[in-house]
Amino acid sequence: MTVSAMEQLYQQLILDHARAPHGHGLVPAPDGDAVGESFAVNPTCGDEVRLRVALRLDDGRPVVDSVCWEGQGCSISRASLSVLTELADGQDAATVGARIESFRTLMHLRGGGLEPELEDELGDAMAFAGVAKYPARIKCALLGWMALRDALTKVGVHPEGTE
């Protein structure tokens, strides 16, 4: 195996997150929070995730209190969910929506570069840049993000962008 190609795909950060993911396990939302839940499947491999997002209002703006999830998936999808949990917790919903869109952009780059502001915004999620080279794995990386997007929509937060 060309260790380099595989090491580029499976960055240590991804392996670490996959082994001990954040947000794993569904927990009750704090009292008073609005809760959105989504169930997403990857039909090609049967992987699935149930994701719950809890929102509170902060100065009238919706803020993500917590994200939690459970499901079955490969290291890419689990690590992606874990990183997403970190990037969403405590952020206002608009920021989270923008990050979801940035992550989608990253997945469809196919070798091109991302604007530096977007890179900063994505932080640890930039470790998934290598996934874009493997079209069959993009769905794995996106699974959790799409579930988050759907869950947010269910509590009335509509991240921009189409699809």
Partner: protein
Amino acid sequence: MALVMTEKLGTHEFAAVRADFPLLARNVRDGRPLVYLDSAATAQKPEVVIDAEQDFYLHHNAAVHRGAHQLAEEATELFERARESVAALVGADPGEIVWTGNATGAINVLAHAIGHASLGRGGAAAQRFALAPGDEVVVTGAEHHSNLIPWQELCARTGATLRWIPVSDEGRILTNRLEDIVTDRCRVLAFTHASNVTGAVTPVAPFVARAHDVGALTVLDACQSVPNLPVDLHALGVDFAVFSGHKMLGPTGVGALYGRRELLEALPPANYGGLMVEVVTMESATYSMPPQRFEAGTQMVAQAVGMGAAAEYLRELGMDAVAEHERGITGRLLGGIAELDGVRVIGPTTSDQRLAVVSFVVDGVHAHDVGQLLDDAGVAVRVGHHCAQPLHRRFGIAATARASASVYTNEADVDTFLEALGRVRGFFGVSDRTAVAR
């Protein structure tokens, strides 16, 4: 094939077979030689198949069974000769082979035709097929979605009940449950000849015997058996069977429904339109004799010709020799996997009554990740549920990786695969005590 064959090939002679498959010479992922172990999903094609399809388009293309011109005659001749070749491969008469788009299409043709009989179409002769509330359709827990969902839907349309025979921990269909599950209420018993997940080969005789006792029709999913085993449908005694061209070294877009002549004659059509009729008025139509009755619209002629060439190619190799060759591959796969820590086969662990279709899980590493590392070594395997979610659920897993062989698979393929598989747990840093994901 390179050699003109008078004798069937011995096992060692399969080395020459590989040269017949041009695609196998290519490299993948940074110049690694391709190791293709995904033949159960779709097989690679020998040059004779590619040539047959191309030759049809280059020299003989015309509408079949129509037209008074020479091209139409030639095209019809090739089309019907392909039917004869396919029939000869599986021990059927040519008139018992209906062209379909694939095996899935074949099952749907049958299920729809039975549905139409259940609505009273096809007259008195078709009543033997009719389903009603109280009737049962029986499948098994090992089925591909293609041999499950059409029956679920047929039951939903007719009010019949779907039941299934479970599989053992080794992935074998529990033949000893036939008596209590296949009862007088059973009208259709649909089962796979060989599982595309566990590789287990079903003993057909007890199924046919039980169906006969209770007066049920048998439907055999022969997708995985026809490319890899000698199959004689007359000798097996099943009523219907289905298989796909693309899994038996033939083109995509073509498959076959086999039906015993007498049954096809009594069965109403599934699809309606041109080329399957005798007399048409504004009010109604009468239908052709089988197999044309089930071949509505312009057929996939070039692909059928290619499938015929594939059948001839397999017949020249000899299906006994193919099975013998693949038994050797199965043994090497199973033996090699047994030596690896943390790799578990889902299915029988001996080569007995089993195909070289080996699904497995690696403790602590998800199948997708296993497949990715194998791919990096040039090894193509399938990952996922292989269109058999209920079977995977039966084993409490969402996904497996699957290595599967064909006539061209050799020992070096297996060794490259095993070597790469042996590195998977190390790469993901999984010891026996830590688990990432399953």
